[in-house]
């Protein structure tokens, strides 16, 4: 029985080392419209990668996105993202295959899962790179594109030249072992 307990303790440790978390990942979106190009940034991406159970879970409080112009941020929150009703953008899913990570190596990973924003769920596929950096932390870099119309966010004709329908989202996060 002692062996069994030892086994559990060992298993727990291994399991724990396979779980990585962050609360300060970087999210950037780029809107490239004919007359205006701007980006928005937040450093409040929360994320979890569990390599043993193959679970990915990321979310961001959309209120923390900043574009550099206060009024534009207010319009973004109030008129487009409606953050009072839908405060989060979330991505939950898994990797198509779990990479075997060794320190210093980079692996291309493909995540499939549900992206949820503005009250709409959509299955998406995101390609990124996952690497184990020297301190035992995981570094994730990924980008993907979304269409605002897919998430019921209409771009009015009056501002279509200032706000792009296609938004390029980039994620960069360093996840610490849990």
């Amino acid at each position: 029985m002692k062996w069994l307990i030892l086994f559990f303790v060992f298993f727990t440790r291994v399991g724990a080392a396979q779980t990585f978390q962050t609360e300060s990942g970087n999210v950037n979106f780029l809107s490239k419209a004919p007359l205006s190009e701007f980006n928005g940034v937040s450093n409040k991406l929360h994320g979890l990668i569990d390599l043993s159970q193959n679970v990915l879970d990321f979310y961001i409080d959309l209120n923390t996105l900043e574009t550099g112009i206060g009024l534009r941020d207010k319009h973004m929150r109030d008129n487009y993202l409606e953050t009072k009703k839908y405060p989060f953008a979330e991505l939950t899913g898994k990797m198509t295959s779990i990479p075997s990570l060794t320190t210093g190596s980079k692996s291309i990973v493909v995540a499939v899962g549900k992206f949820k924003m503005h009250g709409v769920d959509k299955e998406i596929e995101v390609r990124g790179t996952l690497s184990k950096i020297s301190s035992g932390e995981l570094e994730l870099v990924a980008d993907f594109e979304i269409l605002l119309s897919d998430y019921d966010i209409p771009v009015p004709k009056l501002v279509f030249y200032e706000l792009a329908e296609k938004q390029v989202i980039s994620i960069k996060a360093i996840l610490k072992p849990k």
Partner: protein, 289 residues
């Protein structure tokens, strides 16, 4: 032994709990924003703050009364009272402004301070702001037999408290107790009042009709004089960094002091067409990646 197994099981149990992160707001007291489209709503200042280091520039016009009909192009021929106003935010709570209206060539300065903002979690059920300032009438009065008024006789002041709530995403309402004081309200000034002190209570309403436009209403009864009450009805349109406001109002005044002391025409015939263009400029450093 069973207990040991149980403890061991408990030790690994948290693993499966981590399957999804708990969703947490970064700021529980997120402010309710865009209670009004801009720092002005028809004539009255609002609780809508400017972000630090942004400049709000407003060009405001009111024309002649509608009762001249097509002959005077519904008042447009009578010339406009025009006010240029610049308001700069020193912080997210405090801004300073300077304005000039053509009516009596009044130069004003005022400050606006936001005590607190309504929050989404209801911790603060409304927004509360203060504004106050003064202006000087710079018209030439050399032709007057009694001589031109001196500097202090040309002064007027105002103070107001703004209390507003966004009741629903579509409907916002503001209550504005306000006062104005003229050191020497002469007959030659373009005001109907003859008192020094004017007290009133402003009511402002905003009803969103489409995502980016609203119906605007304003009612400002005078409390201590028998001057007519001010009434205004308008249409606000938000277009990127601009807010356009078109309205009919009973007063030609554009600054607070003249708004209270200036007197009002009757609703309908003596409405005047008004038009404000609000633009917000951001002067702070833009954030890049």
């Amino acid at each position: 032994m069973n207990r040991l197994i149980l403890i061991s099981l408990l030790a690994i149990f948290p693993l499966s709990l981590y399957a999804q992160l708990e969703r947490k707001l970064e700021n529980e007291n997120q402010a309710v924003e865009l209670v009004f489209h801009s720092p002005r709503h028809i004539n009255l200042l609002t609780v809508e703050p400017l972000s630090k280091k942004t400049l709000h520039f407003a060009i405001m016009h009111t024309f002649g009364t509608l009762d001249g009909g097509i002959q005077n192009l519904f008042g447009l021929d009578n010339g406009a009272n025009i006010q240029f106003s610049f308001e700069f935010a020193l912080s997210d709570k405090f801004s300073l402004a300077a304005s000039r209206s053509s009516q009596d060539k009044v130069y004003s300065v005022f400050g606006r301070y936001h005590i607190f903002q309504q929050t989404q979690n209801g911790d603060k059920p409304f927004s509360l702001s203060l504004a106050g300032g003064g202006g000087v009438n710079t018209s030439k009065y050399n032709f007057l037999p009694e001589g031109a008024p001196n500097f202090s006789e040309r002064m007027s002041y105002f103070g107001q408290v703004m209390l507003a709530r966004k009741f629903t995403p579509k409907f916002s309402f503001q209550l504005t107790p306000m006062l104005a004081y003229f050191t020497d309200p002469r007959e030659i000034y373009q005001i109907e009042g003859t008192e020094n002190l004017y007290l009133s209570l402003g009511f402002s309403g905003k009803l969103k009709i489409t995502d980016r436009s609203s119906l605007a209403l304003q009612f400002i009864p005078n409390l201590n004089t028998d001057l007519r009450s001010n009434f205004g009805i308008g249409w606000d349109v938000e277009a990127g960094g601009h807010v356009f406001q078109m309205y009919f109002v009973t007063s030609q005044a554009l600054n607070e002091q003249y708004l209270l002391a200036g007197g009002n025409g009757t609703i309908g015939d003596e409405f005047r067409l008004g038009f404000n263009v609000n633009r917000i400029f951001s002067t702070g450093k833009k954030k890049n990646k």
